[in-house]
């Protein structure tokens, strides 16, 4: 018998939430990468690049960038936590480490946002 549904009761714990955030942030970053390379490519064409830089001065773009930086930092810190579990046998207080990884990521995002405005 299988139990279906992503919100099944047996998944309601920090380890699964951390894995879900890690997977979704990874997918989001992978989806963003082509856009990132497109912008880098545009840097060679001064006119369109300047236009793009103007476009990024809008507040909603800055907030999106901060979210993106947060996503990257959360994924990075979550990845370090996973490596610590798998290679160094980090065993104690997993929910604390998960919370620290999330706090680090969101903190980096907030710092980015403060600098952006």
């Amino acid at each position: 018998m299988s139990v279906s549904g992503i919100a099944r009761a047996s998944r309601a714990h920090p380890g699964f939430v951390a894995a879900l955030i890690h997977r979704l942030s990874g997918l989001a970053l992978a989806a963003f990468l082509p856009m990132h390379f497109l912008v880098l490519g545009l840097a060679l064409e001064a006119e369109s690049f300047t236009g793009l830089i103007d476009w990024t001065n809008q507040p909603w773009v800055k907030i999106s960038e901060a979210l993106l930086v947060s996503t990257l930092s959360v994924h990075f810190a979550g990845g370090l936590r996973l490596l610590a579990v798998e290679f160094f046998g980090l065993t104690r207080a997993q929910s604390l480490w998960i919370a620290l990884a999330l706090a680090f990521g969101l903190g980096v995002g907030v710092l980015f946002l403060m600098k952006a405005f």
Binding site: M1, A9, H13, E86, Q94
Partner: protein, 242 residues
């Protein structure tokens, strides 16, 4: 005049792989385990209800079921801890074939224990020589952390990877393999690593840690599997695994 008796509403899975839930009403007691509730139903309301138990005290590992959506050992789960608005929902363990009602077929579970080579293989040494293993030795401590498994199948039912990949050995079998690998008296420890590195082996684990979250005796199969990942990697680098 005594107060009116309070009643638990219990929905239980009836049938095999396909079936339906059936509602029973059971008197609520101050001290009552989920297994007590199932036993009450079988003795007083429907003698045909199939379920499995033996020791009733958390040793044998045979009474595990899905209680309100998560796997638990029912003999040590008090109703008061899990009841929601007077209701309990009981189903057989997930990730295993259902025989009938609350009884699953544990055959695939134990076949995976065998596939992970979680049993002792003696070495070539003389039989009258007692192996000296210090209690403080690194491998002995690691084995102690993994050894108290009661084979209940709760971690197997909780594991997402088991539900995603049929040949995945699963947390219980791999935890056992880790305990066995840490037995320095074993005559073929690399044989264990070979068994757990194959297709459905330890490297499938995504470290969701549901096994550790739900294990009724507080073992941590995720970390046992992480240990196997490290040791298989080391053995591979040393050229001991093909």
């Amino acid at each position: 005049m005594s107060p009116p008796e309070r009643v638990l509403k219990v929905d239980i899975w009836r049938g095999g792989e396909s079936g339906r839930t059936q509602r029973f009403e059971v008197p609520e007691r101050e001290n009552q385990t989920v297994l007590d509730v199932v036993t009450y139903i079988q003795r007083h309301l429907d003698a045909a209800l199939a379920y499995r138990f033996a020791c009733r005290v958390g040793v044998c590992g045979s009474c595990a079921m899905t209680v309100n959506g998560r796997p638990r050992w029912t003999c040590r789960t008090h109703v008061s801890r899990v009841v929601r608005r007077g209701k309990l929902s009981l189903a057989p363990l997930a990730n295993l074939p259902v025989i009938r009602d609350l009884v699953t077929d544990m055959t695939p579970f134990f076949e995976k224990w065998q596939a992970a080579r979680g049993r002792f293989v003696p070495g070539d040494g003389p039989r009258d020589e007692m192996a000296a293993v210090s209690p403080g030795e690194k491998h002995r401590i690691a084995a102690s952390d993994a050894i108290e498994c009661i084979n209940c199948g709760v971690c197997h039912a909780a594991c997402d990877l088991v539900s995603w990949r049929e040949d995945y050995l699963g947390p219980a079998a791999l935890n056992r393999a880790w305990a066995a690998w840490n037995d320095v008296r074993d005559g073929d420890r690399n044989g264990i690593l070979r068994a757990v590195v194959s297709g459905g082996g330890c490297h499938n684990c995504h470290t969701h840690q549901s096994c550790a979250e739900h294990c009724p005796v507080s073992l941590n199969p995720t970390f046992s599997i992480a240990g196997l990942k490290r040791e298989t990697l080391k053995a591979k680098l040393r050229g001991e695994l093909k």
